[in-house]
Symmetry: C2
Subunit: 276 residues, 2 copies
Amino acid sequence: RQGGRRTDNMMASWNNNRKIKGVLLDISGVLFESGAGVPIDGSVEAVKRLQSAGLPVRFCTNETTMTRNMLTEKLHRLGFSMKDEEIFPPIPAVCKVLQKRNLRPHLLVHPTAALDFEGIDTLNPNCVVLGDATAEFTYHNLNKAFQALMSMEKPILFSLGMGRYYKEEEELVLDVGPFAKALEFAADVKAEIVGKPSETFFSSVLEDMGVSPENAVMVGDDIVSDVGGAQACGMLGIQVRTGKFRPQDESHPKVKPDSFADNLLAAVDLILQASK
Amino acid sequence: RQGGRRTDNMMASWNNNRKIKGVLLDISGVLFESGAGVPIDGSVEAVKRLQSAGLPVRFCTNETTMTRNMLTEKLHRLGFSMKDEEIFPPIPAVCKVLQKRNLRPHLLVHPTAALDFEGIDTLNPNCVVLGDATAEFTYHNLNKAFQALMSMEKPILFSLGMGRYYKEEEELVLDVGPFAKALEFAADVKAEIVGKPSETFFSSVLEDMGVSPENAVMVGDDIVSDVGGAQACGMLGIQVRTGKFRPQDESHPKVKPDSFADNLLAAVDLILQASK
């Protein structure tokens, strides 16, 4: 399977006259491996091909360990071309929600990502916002977030994505989802997800592209959050065999991708065929 | 409500000719407040009254931050009388399960409690055992437990209890349950609970007393794990208004205790009436 020897065929759903008019790409695990300083082979070329074909491309990430600017800069440094506003991380989205609903968050997020909350009032918190805090997920910090929820008459918990895990320097590490589940259980609340796989999040991206879900495809390495989430919104979903992909994903009990692809370049081949 | 001014009435279930012949007591939050060096007012007297009345008493705890010996010693120091074998913590129970099923645990437990696993083979782990690890619940340690599960062909996760939180020096802090939920979600596995509210655990205690569930009562401060768990096994359940009790518990959506009581002494009054 390595080296692209296997030919992935498009599933039946693809042949159903679904012309692709817009593409959503996950970032980490698709454009580059998390923690790595180089792009995944062929991924720079793959994005260029989509853009040259005139297909609108949006970058949908649950990345919350860096600011949006740092992420854009990193992608440019790796050779990718995109505008800042074509990248959709969850923090700008949750900030809009907080302001609209007049909420003041207790933040349990990565120290770097916290910079993107500048200007948000965090005094006397009346909700908790949980991001991928990595090493900041200490017993102490989790207790503080839990106590904040328990002190609220009507506890509100936002989770920036609901990913189970991702690959970081050859190891699978816990994403924000497990910690959201922990706080949900402890404080008896249901988290509101901002980011993938929330339908609101995917819809805002589709709206920005002016493409309807049946003409859009999402490419990701997370079978549940990327592929399953996109399919639930009516889009097609391709899982790449990079990033956190595991062979067991090909017999996942709940999610059947419309196609697998060895990497983004192979996925783009399939997409360009389906956009003609 | 403080000072015992309120009279708690036994619920209908109590008047149903259910003579009490055995009593299960939670320890932390019932005999003493977690972190405190003195017993809860009246609790030493309360246990004595039960014992003097000839009722078998067993101490059922999900305590995994100290060894069984340390726990017995602490209770004796506080003035309680009981035999070592009348105390039922989850670690001796899980050790029996591990040996019976030939399992080698990856341990994520409190460093002190780890001593009670002496003699258990932990090389090449084929299961994970999760206890109340408190400050050892770091991102690093949770990742290690997660990775251990992911490396197993058929991941097995034991959780020593499933408590949501408890009170520690005036603060509510996370118990083992939320972390079990986190690992369940991350590794897509269902934890086997050893300790309260597992029916197996309660049954082994009842068997030890030689009392059938309809003649037994559990007294605890945890409405779900103590009261709900005991009721699910056919026992009566009393919630005391000490420990982690919160006023909201009196209108809990799922669990209705057979009675509330201001503290263990008040609970014992009710029990002694029902044992005549």
